[in-house]
């Protein structure tokens, strides 16, 4: 080959890899955005090779380097991953026919290799001028979402949202397992504020309607809010370290670490069931130091969901948070937990339930919002689990709250209780009021009435005493708080060979 030919090739590669015009790079930098190739360099393991396909896509157009998207295979934490990454310096990362074809092809590769698929999104959406070529056909944009649905639960799918994800494009994050959004820059919306004003007459800011913080705290479309692109990429790398490459494999063991030092569990959990405490503190005492990776921290704080490690083994934790809304289950908390349970079950991550729950919320507001329908989602997802399922009753577990937190009827591999546990249809106060309400009203002397109520509450407490429940074998064990981590670790080790099929059928009729 002549030097001339080689020079032509190298010039072209350099030109394409430089992305769009300098002014768009400046605009990117002004918004604290990295260039797409810089993002990929940070995402992939340092010093490792990567492979990119269709670098020359649409090179004949002259002004659309790589057709606005980089698709590549690389390594993250030593594991192979497939990536698509929009280039916002090329027509604002918009999609043409070859952009879409490239995305579809890298998805197909991820399916064949059974490796995680990452979507680094920063795109204005479809190029309307190219719509016939990229929108409606068999390998049009719709196929991207179809593939995502097909891949869901087969391989981890992660979305890093660096910029807008508009209209149809907003479904890319929606079909991912987890969405990491960069504060101030990331947004998701079906119709832009300008469109909303034109079509429905609403005046609203982008941040208010589709901003990262809103999605991570109100709509629940976002899972993790990052303060910078660098942090978002670090979070994605860390997230992947908890997961196997696909549904057939198991998560990789990491170096075990003792939990962080601090107050003993006995001191953290108050005996009075009605007094709040901070469940995060309890979690930090049972998981390996620094291993807790929370999902949806800013959304429905009355339930905590997160990945963690116990003696180096990945686990998923679902825990009620008595400090927020009393740990009561609401519509959003049920959704949040159901989704997290499904995620862990798909990728062989054992689940630990830490129950301190007064039950599902009652009242007009939640009934009208369909709390029963949403609660059913959580109970269905939790029932369906075939990974190791460990239920820990920390304090109260009342009513359907016991069911939602993998109570004994839902075939947990164990249901163990701390000495502070209290399992009942309802708490003593509510139960005595319900059963003896007429009798209580008949007693005229206030002192006598109080004594009667106290006596009945005492009888009730004895009736639901945790040792009585252990005697009836409703629970499998009562564990000293200081031994909780150890017992969970031992049980997880025995449960490693667990294998089961939940039910015979095509699929359930989901209570969505």
């Amino acid at each position: 080959m002549t030097a001339k030919l080689e020079n032509r090739l190298n010039d072209m590669i350099d030109q394409i890899k430089a992305g769009g015009a300098p002014k768009y790079h400046e605009k990117n930098a002004a918004q604290n955005k990295m260039f797409v190739r810089e993002r990929l360099e940070r995402l992939f393991d340092e010093g490792e090779f990567s492979v990119e396909d269709a670098l020359f896509a649409n090179n004949e157009a002259g002004n659309l380097p790589a057709d606005g998207v980089v698709t590549a295979m690389g390594k993250v934490g030593g594991q192979t991953v497939c990536v698509m990454a929009n280039d916002s310096t090329v027509k604002a990362g918009s999609w043409g026919a070859r952009t879409v074809e490239k995305i579809i092809r890298i998805q197909e590769i991820a399916q064949r290799l059974k490796v995680p698929m990452l979507y680094l999104v920063d795109s204005a959406g479809a190029r309307i001028t190219d719509q016939i070529d990229m929108f409606p056909n068999r390998r049009g944009a719709g196929r991207i979402f179809y593939n995502q649905v097909k891949m869901s639960g087969m391989v981890p799918q992660i979305c890093l949202l660096f910029g807008p994800s508009a209209a149809g494009g907003a479904y890319i994050p929606a079909f991912c397992d987890v969405v990491i959004m960069v504060d101030q820059n990331a947004s998701m919306y079906l119709g832009s504020p300008r469109m909303a004003e034109k079509v429905i007459g609403e005046k609203v800011s982008l941040e208010e309607m589709g901003g990262a913080r809103m999605h991570c705290s109100v709509s629940g479309c976002g899972d993790i809010l990052a303060q910078s692109e660098k942090e978002a990429i670090e979070l994605a790398r860390n997230y992947l370290s908890y997961f196997p490459a696909n549904y057939k494999q198991k998560p990789i063991m990491k170096e075990p670490k003792p939990p962080v030092d601090g107050r003993a569990l006995e001191e953290i959990v108050p005996e009075n069931q009605n007094v709040p405490f901070d469940m995060y503190e309890l979690i930090s005492r049972i998981v390996d130091d620094g291993s807790f990776f929370e999902i949806k921290k800013l959304f429905a704080g009355e339930i905590i969901t997160g990945l963690a490690r116990i003696e180096g083994r990945t686990v998923g934790i679902v825990a009620n948070q008595p400090k927020v809304k009393g740990g009561v289950l609401f519509v959003d908390s049920a959704d949040k937990a159901a989704r997290f349970i499904t995620l862990c079950d798909a990728f062989s991550i054992p689940l630990i339930f830490l129950a301190d729950v007064p039950g599902f919320m009652i009242g007009t507001k939640v009934e009208r919002a369909g709390i029963i329908r949403h609660g059913a989602k959580l109970i269905a997802a939790m029932s369906d689990v075939t990974v190791p399922k460990l239920s820990v009753i920390v304090r109260k577990a009342y009513g359907a709250g016991l069911y939602a937190m993998a109570g004994p009827a839902f075939e947990p591999d164990c249901c163990i209780a701390l000495p502070t546990a209290q399992i009942a249809v309802m708490g003593p106060e509510a139960a005595v009021n319900a059963v003896y309400s007429n009798k209580i009203n008949e007693i005229e002397d206030p002192k006598e009435r109080m004594l009667f109520v106290q006596q009945k509450q005492q009888e009730y407490k004895e009736h639901i005493d945790i040792y009585k429940l252990a005697s009836e074998m409703i629970i499998d064990d009562i564990v000293a708080p200081s031994r909780l981590r150890e017992t969970l670790h031992h049980r997880l080790r025995f449960l490693e060979s667990k294998e089961m099929t939940f039910s015979e059928r095509k699929h359930p009729v989901y209570p969505v």
């Binding site: 009393g326 009561v328 009652i362 507001k365 106060e429 509510a430």
Partner: protein, 70 residues
């Protein structure tokens, strides 16, 4: 003007601030009772209490204003 609202339906168990008092973020201002649990309501902002909209024993719905700050 900033409002501190009830984050869930319940009954007012205690009001821990007075008119004219300064509050800081994270400070406990009202305790609700709901589902037999104590529900602490903290201020998310800094300000001075100009009005208290509820009294002990009142029923409040989710979103109802408890305290107004400037």
């Amino acid at each position: 003007m900033k409002e501190i609202n009830a984050n869930m339906a319940g009954t007012v168990l205690n009001v821990l601030v007075n008119k004219g008092e300064g509050v800081s973020p994270g400070q406990l201002v009202v305790v609700l009772e709901s589902m037999k649990m104590e529900i602490p309501i903290e201020s998310t902002v800094e300000g001075t209490v100009t009005d208290i909209k509820v009294g002990i024993g009142d029923f409040v719905n989710e979103g109802d204003t408890l305290v107004i700050l400037t």
